[in-house]
C-alpha cells in the first residue's frame, strides 16, 4: 500500500525529531530511511506504525487518513531493532500471536494458524526451532523469527527498525540479500531504517537521507551517490574528500584548479567547499603535469585489488585518501614522501553559506 506523509513534525521536549517532513512511498517499493543517530529516521518509522503520534501533519496509508488509526487498524508489520520477541513464548507461539489476538469472529481456526506458522517457519528456514524459546536462538535467527511474526498478520506495509544493526557482518550481509529476495517475492511495501549507508544502497529501491529531522535527499541509490544535493549527503554517502574553495565570477577555485559553478555570477568572493570521491582522484608526477592540487604522499596501502594512498596538502593537517586499482598504481611508480598533483576527475562545489556543512 502507498504511504503519503505530509508536513509531519514531532518534538520530544525541546528536541526536534522531525521538522516538516513530507514523503510519499508508492506501492511495493523498498525504501531505506538513512541518517545518523538522532536524525529522526526511527521517529518517522514509528509514526508510520502508529507507535508515535506526530505533533502536526498528516499520514495517509493507501489514501486513508491514518494519523489517529490504532496500530491494529493500520495493518503494518514492525520488526524491532532488538527483535522484541515474547520471551516466555515458543517461537511458534510468537509467530502465531498476531493471529490469536484477533477478535473471535476474524480469528482463523487453530489448524489454519498452525499451517500459517509452519509456512512462515519454512520461509525463514527455521522449521526446526518451532518449539524453542527466543533465548535459545542466535541473533540472526531471532531476527528472522521477528520478521516471520510481523509477516504472519499479512501486513500491508512492512517496517523494520535497524533490522540488521545488532548482528555481525557476515550474518548481516546474508540477511540483506534475503530481505531483498523476500521483498521481490512478496511485493509488500517495505520501509527500513538504517544508519549504514552501504546497507541502504545495497538493499533499497529508494534511499531517503534524513538529517536533523529533515529530508536531505530522496532518490534511487545511484542518484543519491552520483548526484548528492547537499554537502551532508556527499559526506554521509560513500567516502568523500573535501577541499576549501573560493567562488568568484562564477568560477570556483581551489589549489590550481578552477571549475565553473552554475547559478548567478557575482563578483563578490564566496567561501565554498569542493567535494570529490577518493576514486575520482588521478595522481600525476609534478614534473609531467600541471594544474590540480599539490600534495605529499604519506602512505601507500596496496594490498588486494584496491590501492589506497594517503596524501596531505602542504600546510594542512588532515590527510585525505585517493583510491585506484593496484594495477593502475604500479606504472606510476609512486613512493612515500613524493609530491604529486591530485587531479579530481569529478568535483561538486557547495557554497558554505547556502547549506550548512556538517
Amino acid at each position: 500500500m502507498s504511504i503519503e506523509i505530509q508536513r509531519v513534525a514531532k518534538r520530544f521536549g525541546s528536541f526536534v525529531a522531525l521538522d516538516d517532513v513530507s514523503l510519499s512511498i508508492p506501492v511495493g517499493q523498498l525504501v531505506a530511511l538513512l541518517g545518523p543517530s538522532g536524525s529522526g529516521k526511527t521517529t518517522l518509522l514509528r509514526i508510520i506504525a502508529g507507535l508515535d503520534v506526530p505533533d502536526s501533519g498528516t499520514l495517509a496509508i493507501s489514501g486513508a487518513d491514518s494519523v489517529s488509526a490504532t496500530p491494529r487498524d493500520r495493518k503494518v508489520g514492525f520488526v524491532f531493532q532488538h527483535y522484541a520477541l515474547f520471551r516466555h513464548m515458543t517461537v511458534a507461539d510468537n509467530i502465531a500471536f498476531g493471529l490469536t489476538v484477533r477478535p473471535r469472529a476474524e480469528r482463523p481456526t487453530p489448524a489454519v494458524i498452525k499451517q500459517r506458522v509452519d509456512h512462515l517457519l519454512h520461509m525463514v528456514q527455521l522449521e526446526w526451532c518451532a518449539g524453542r524459546y527466543p533465548h535459545q536462538l542466535s541473533g540472526g535467527q531471532r531476527q528472522r523469527i521477528a520478521l516471520a511474526r510481523a509477516l504472519a498478520v499479512q501486513p500491508r506495509i512492512l517496517l523494520l527498525d535497524e533490522p540488521f544493526g545488532a548482528l555481525d557482518a557476515k550474518v548481516r550481509a546474508e540477511l540483506r540479500r534475503w530481505l531483498r529476495r523476500l521483498h521481490q517475492e512478496m511485493g509488500v511495501t517495505t520501509v527500513f531504517v538504517t544508519h549504514d549507508q552501504e546497507e541502504a544502497m545495497e538493499v533499497a529501491d529508494r534511499v531517503v537521507v534524513i538529517n536533523h529531522g529533515k529530508i536531505e535527499q530522496a532518490g534511487t541509490p545511484e542518484d543519491v551517490y552520483n548526484a548528492p544535493c547537499s554537502p551532508f549527503v556527499f559526506d554521509f554517502i560513500g567516502q568523500s574528500v573535501s577541499f576549501p574553495a573560493v567562488i568568484r565570477g562564477g568560477v570556483a577555485r581551489f589549489g590550481a584548479m578552477s571549475i565553473p559553478v552554475p547559478g548567478q555570477v557575482s563578483d563578490t568572493e564566496e567561501q565554498a567547499i569542493a567535494y570529490a570521491r577518493p576514486h575520482d582522484l588521478t595522481l600525476a608526477p609534478t614534473a609531467s603535469s600541471e594544474g590540480g592540487i599539490e600534495a605529499v604522499i604519506e602512505r601507500i596501502h596496496a594490498i588486494g585489488a584496491l590501492a589506497r594512498i594517503d596524501l596531505r596538502v602542504t600546510g594542512r593537517t588532515t590527510p585525505f585518501e585517493a583510491q585506484m586499482s593496484s594495477e593502475a598504481l604500479q606504472p606510476l611508480g609512486l613512493s612515500v614522501g613524493q609530491t604529486v598533483r591530485v587531479l579530481p576527475r569529478r568535483v561538486k562545489v557547495f557554497r558554505t553559506a547556502a547549506a550548512p556543512v556538517t
Binding site: F97, C129, L137, R149
Partner: protein, 295 residues
C-alpha cells in the same frame, strides 16, 4: 558450592584468626538475636504441653483473630497488587511530570511510623474526624472495625509490590508491549498475554514480602482497631492481649503461629527469588546465546 576463600591465593586472604574471628562474631550475633528468641517462643508455647498449645487456638477469640488477620491480609494484598501493577506500569512505561514525586510517595509508608499512619486514619474517619459525622449519619463503621484494619494494613504494605515491579519493568522496556500492539493486541491482551508473564516472578516476590508484612502488622492496626476481643483483634493484637493478661503459654502459642507463617513466607521468598534471578538472567542475554542446533 566451593568457598571463594579456598580458591583465593594465600596472599590475598586475611590471616586465619581474622577469618575465624569474623565468622564467630557473625554466628554469635545470629544465635543471640535470631535463633535464641525463636527457640524461646517455641519453648514457651509448649511449656504446658501439646494439649494446652492446641487449646490456645480453639479459643473463640483466637480463631476470630486468625480469621481477621487472614481477611485483612488478603484484602490488603489484592489492593496493593492492583495498585502496585498500575503504579509500576505508569512509572516504568511512561514519562510524565511529577514521576519522581510519585516514586517518592510510594516509599512514604516505609518512612512513616505505623502508629502515625494509624492516627491519620483515626483523624480522617474517627468519630471526631473529618468524615466522622458523615460516616455516622450513613451508619458506616471504619474505625474500630474491619475497614479501618484493612486500610491501615494496606497503607503500611503499600510499597512492596510496586517497589519490586518498577526496576523489573524499567529494565524490560516497552519493546514487547509495542510489538504486541502492532500485532493487533488490545491493551488487555497486551497486559494479560505479554506483560504479566514478564513480571510474573517479581510480582510473586512482591506479594510474598507484602503478605509477610501484612500478617505481622501491629502499630497502625493497633491504633485503628480499638482492641475489641473476638471482633477487631488481629493475631498480633491478640498476642499482646494474652501477654498483658499473663496468659503466657497461649500468647507464645499464637506467637509461634506467626513465626511459622514468617518461616513459610521466607522459604517461599527464597524459592521465588531464585526463579526471579533465573528469569532475569535469561532476559539479560540478548544476543550471545549459541543455538543448540544448526539449520
Amino acid at each position: 558450592m566451593h568457598s571463594p576463600v579456598a580458591d583465593t591465593p594465600r596472599h590475598l586472604t586475611e590471616p586465619a584468626w581474622i577469618r575465624w574471628g569474623l565468622i564467630t562474631v557473625a554466628c554469635g550475633f545470629l544465635i543471640v538475636f535470631l535463633l535464641l528468641p525463636l527457640t524461646f517462643v517455641l519453648v514457651q508455647a509448649f511449656r504446658q504441653g501439646l494439649h494446652a498449645y492446641l487449646q490456645s487456638f480453639s479459643d473463640p477469640d483466637a480463631t476470630s483473630a486468625i480469621r481477621l488477620t487472614i481477611i485483612a491480609t488478603v484484602i490488603a494484598l489484592a489492593l496493593n497488587t492492583v495498585f502496585g501493577i498500575c503504579a509500576a506500569w505508569c512509572i516504568a512505561k511512561f514519562s510524565f511530570r511529577g514521576k519522581n514525586v510519585l516514586i517518592t510517595l510510594i516509599d512514604l509508608p516505609f518512612a512513616v511510623s505505623p502508629v502515625v499512619a494509624g492516627l491519620v486514619f483515626v483523624l480522617l474517619f474517627g468519630a471526631g474526624g473529618w468524615f466522622g459525622s458523615y460516616l455516622r449519619d450513613h451508619n458506616v463503621h471504619i474505625i474500630f472495625a474491619l475497614p479501618g484494619i484493612v486500610l491501615a494494613t494496606t497503607f503500611v504494605t503499600l510499597p512492596f509490590v510496586a517497589r519490586e515491579l518498577i526496576p523489573m519493568m524499567q529494565a524490560q522496556g516497552t519493546d514487547e508491549e509495542e510489538a504486541a500492539r502492532v500485532l493487533g493486541a488490545s491493551a488487555w491482551q497486551m497486559f494479560s498475554r505479554v506483560t504479566i508473564f514478564n513480571i510474573g516472578w517479581s510480582l510473586l516476590y512482591g506479594i510474598i514480602l507484602c503478605s509477610a508484612r501484612a500478617l505481622g502488622e501491629f502499630g497502625a492496626v493497633s491504633v485503628v482497631s480499638g482492641h475489641i476481643n473476638g471482633k477487631t483483634c488481629t493475631l498480633p493484637l491478640h498476642i499482646e492481649y494474652l501477654y498483658d493478661n499473663y496468659q503466657l503459654s497461649a500468647a507464645f502459642a499464637c506467637a509461634s503461629l506467626l513465626c511459622l507463617l514468617a518461616l513459610v513466607t521466607l522459604v517461599a521468598k527464597t524459592l521465588v527469588g531464585r526463579r526471579l534471578r533465573l528469569s532475569m538472567e535469561v532476559a539479560d542475554d540478548v544476543p550471545g546465546l549459541v543455538p543448540t542446533a544448526v539449520p
